[in-house]
């Protein structure tokens, strides 16, 4: 409520009473800089930066949890952590890393780059975009307050029933897991609707679907996966919520329930989820590799369609997570086949990257190294993944460290390496300075070494039979050496991953000391539209809407082919780039309501967990925010250039949000 009171205080003295104000609308925030600007911004670039920063914050939490796990497992029969603490820490490590690190970094890139790459001035619904971010942050923070309010969740990131029931997990940890992720899920859902609408409907003239950069395509597929996967998780969580907090009996085996229902629902969500974590990284690498191989991406249509194929087939393989749960031979065979087939489009991607590298004039800078790191390490993880499609093999490896090794190779060696490649590649576009190459190389090689030392030995440990999720192992089991290696590796990995931030800090200081030199709009001589604007990107993105005539249009404006089919440069990026000095560009106005609405949801969440009375102020705040939002025109009536009558966003968004709130309360 405090924020609402703030608004009345914020009424400017020079307010023109002649402007007719719609019912109940306060003055819009108008700060261009400072905290308030960040809290109320609807600029997709600032929201993207905030997604990235929040994800880095959660990465520190998740990384710390990972180090605690590795310290505990360094030696046999270690007593560093209790069994209970260990359960909570590995559960929260998984949950935080999946939902609050990898997914939001993907969202950060999608938010910042996708509108630029399709030539749009912002996303389709800027306020919903802000809401998506804040509600993700609200859910993530709420989940992490469980550390202080009775301990984190303790059932694994998938929280299998009936182990997640109130009988086996009486503390509030799983309730926080439930509410926190449900709230964050609302943000993913609204974000997905928003970004899909943007890709489909906000493209620059001439930007047909088959001229879109691969990153945009992967964003589109990712957001479709989110759009359809999140509701399934929400239903599973609602069932669990009803069981734990309102006495329902969905997973009560005594009354005849089948706990496999949870596994099915969770993995129907969970498998599309793993693809939506990796696809943004695939998109990033598909941009970086052509730029530094000085060649167009090999087989662009194959890249696009294999991404779409992964998106479709990702819905038909979920039960391979459940091969040992007694599904019966028919189901197991069916899903084993489907799982083998999904390796095909993934393999197509890997081959296309290799073919792009082949014969290219490679620039092995940090971004390129991280991209090649993704290709190699993801392939290792992909191969161990295909081996799980063989059901008897999978039966042998289920719940061992072999699985842990597999998914860290695809998610850390794959997704995170791709994201860091993206950091190095787009850093000058976002912040106006390049990251240091020497530190970058150290960063990369440290990570490769640490990563393989940590997760490589886990293959062996798993084949030796070391089970996952056990807090201690006996001296005589023969796991000692490789566990120690993994722990040492994990510290190397932690330090070198942290070096991204250290490098950002060092590079910033050097750049400042050098008098803030302009990196130029196109420092890498790259291919897509975001390089045709100044660095950092001006607030209005494009001075004029670009007109696209080709795939990699910006590249084709810089180079032409002569009669011998040799590329000839006709212009530099700096010559072609838009000057970024357009004035009076009409931008969507910032708003208080997204953040107010977002932070009303955890109030309801805490109410459900602790006392239902607390839900009442939460719901009141939510309704105030909803109506405030709905009645606020998308345009600020006090700003020049406002033209009336195009504010039909409010009612519909009102509709969406009622809906989502219905799902969460």
């Amino acid at each position: 409520m405090a924020i609402i009171e703030n608004e009345t205080l914020a009424l400017p003295s020079g307010d023109d009473p002649a402007v007719e104000r719609p019912l109940g609308v306060f003055t819009r925030p108008r700060n261009q800089t400072g905290l308030k600007n960040w809290l109320t911004t609807v600029d997709h670039k600032k929201i993207g930066i905030m997604y990235g920063s929040a994800a880095m914050f959660f990465l520190l939490i998740g990384g710390l949890a990972a180090l605690l796990i590795r310290i505990q497992l360094a030696t046999p029969n270690n007593t560093f952590l209790s069994a209970d603490a260990y359960n909570r820490i590995f559960t929260m490590h998984g949950t935080v890393m999946v939902f609050l690190v990898v997914m939001p970094i993907g969202a950060a890139f999608a938010n910042y780059l996708m509108p630029l790459q399709v030539g749009a001035r912002d996303v389709a619904f800027p306020r919903i975009n802000a809401f998506s971010f804040w509600v993700f942050l609200a859910g993530g923070l709420m989940l992490n307050t469980s550390w202080f309010l009775g301990g984190g969740a303790d059932g694994g990131w998938f929280n299998y029933a009936p182990n997640n029931g109130i009988i086996y997990s009486p503390s509030t940890g799983i309730d926080f897991w439930n509410m926190g992720l449900m709230i964050a899920g609302i943000g993913s859902l609204t974000g997905a609707v928003n970004l899909i609408t943007t890709v489909l409907n906000m493209r620059a003239p001439g930007m047909t679907l088959m001229r879109m950069p691969v990153f945009v395509w992967m964003t589109l597929v990712t957001q479709f996966l989110l759009l359809f996967a999140i509701p399934v998780l929400t239903v599973a969580q609602v069932l669990l919520l009803m069981d734990r907090n309102f006495g329902a009996s969905f997973f009560d085996v005594k009354l005849g329930a089948d706990p496999l229902l949870w596994q099915h629902l969770f993995w129907i969500f969970g498998h599309p989820e793993v693809y939506l974590m990796i696809l943004p990284a695939f998109g990033i690498v598909s941009e970086v590799i052509p730029a530094f191989a000085r060649k167009p991406l090999f087989g662009y249509p194959f890249m696009v369609f294999s991404g779409i194929a992964i998106g479709f087939m990702g819905w038909g393989v979920w039960a391979h997570h459940m091969f040992v749960s007694g599904l019966g031979p028919l189901t197991v065979s069916g899903f084993a086949f489907a799982t083998m087939f999904i390796a095909v489009p993934t393999g197509v991607k890997v081959l296309n990257w290799l073919a792009t590298l082949w014969g290219g004039r490679l620039t092995l800078n940090t971004a390129m190294l991280f991209s090649i790191g993704l290709v190699t390490q993801f392939t290792i993880g992909g191969l161990s993944g295909v081996s799980h499609a063989i059901a008897p093999w999978d039966t042998q490896q289920t719940d061992t460290y072999y699985i842990v090794a597999h998914f860290h190779y695809v998610l850390f060696g794959g997704a995170l390496f791709g994201f860091i490649a993206g950091f190095y590649f787009w850093w000058p576009k976002v912040f106006g300075y390049k990251l240091n190459e020497a530190h970058g190389k150290f960063n990369f090689w440290g990570m490769v070494l640490g990563f393989n030392l940590t997760f490589g030995p886990m293959h062996i440990l798993g084949l030796q039979g070391m089970p996952r999720r056990m807090y201690a192992y006996d001296d005589a089991m023969g796991f000692n050496t490789w566990n120690m290696v993994a722990t040492i590796g994990s510290f190397i990995l932690a330090i070198s991953t942290l070096w991204v931030l250290v490098n950002a800090f060092i590079s910033y200081n050097r750049w400042k000391a050098a008098g803030r030199p302009d990196p130029g709009p196109d420092p890498w001589d790259a291919r897509t539209l975001e390089w045709s604007v100044q660095s950092p990107t001006p607030e209005h993105n494009f001075d004029y809407t670009p007109v696209v005539t080709d795939l990699d249009d910006f590249w084709h404006r810089k180079f032409v082919e002569d009669e011998n089919h040799r590329l000839k440069r006709v212009a530099t990026g700096a010559e072609l780039a838009q000057p970024g000095n357009a004035e009076g560009v009409h931008l969507p106005a910032p708003s208080y309501w997204p953040i107010v609405l977002a932070f009303s949801l955890p109030v309801i969440g805490y109410g459900v967990i602790f006392t239902l009375w607390l839900t009442i102020p939460g719901i009141v705040l939510m309704m105030v925010a909803l109506f405030g939002w709905a009645l606020e025109p998308a345009d600020d009536p006090d700003v020049e250039g406002h033209h009336d009558g195009d504010d039909h966003e409010p009612e519909g968004s009102d509709g969406d949000d009622h809906e989502l709130v219905g799902a969460s309360s």
Partner: protein, 117 residues
């Protein structure tokens, strides 16, 4: 609305309608669709009272359900007219993505329970 651009305003004689609304069903058509829906509901209820079981009971009920679904989506939600928009079927396609995914995935899930050991 933003689509009240110059061309559409001229085309509508300045009434401010967007151009495709002329294609929407007439009031009579709406009432007719409603009448069919009401009759189908009545038949459904009566059918459920017939001394039938198994396929003879369930299949006609499901068939009538699907027809009602299509009628509401096609006429009341204007998907029928989505087909006539020059860019074609976008709403139908997007909605069908969700619908078809849901139907297939959940049928497989329920079937998996039947094959459980």
């Amino acid at each position: 609305m933003a689509e009240t651009t110059l061309e559409t305003a001229v085309a509508d004689g300045g009434l401010g309608h967007s151009s495709d609304h002329g294609d929407h069903p007439t009031e009579t058509a709406y009432w007719q669709v409603f009448a069919i829906l009401a009759v189908l509901t009545a038949v459904e209820v009566l059918w459920s009272y017939l001394p039938l079981d198994g396929v003879a009971l369930v299949v006609p009920l499901l068939a009538m359900m699907v027809v009602k679904f299509v009628l509401v989506a096609g006429w009341f939600m204007h998907l029928k007219y989505d087909l006539s928009i020059i860019n074609g079927n976008v709403f139908t396609i997007l909605f069908s993505f969700g619908l078809v995914t849901a139907v297939l995935v959940y049928i497989v899930m329920i079937a998996a329970f039947d094959f459980q050991i």
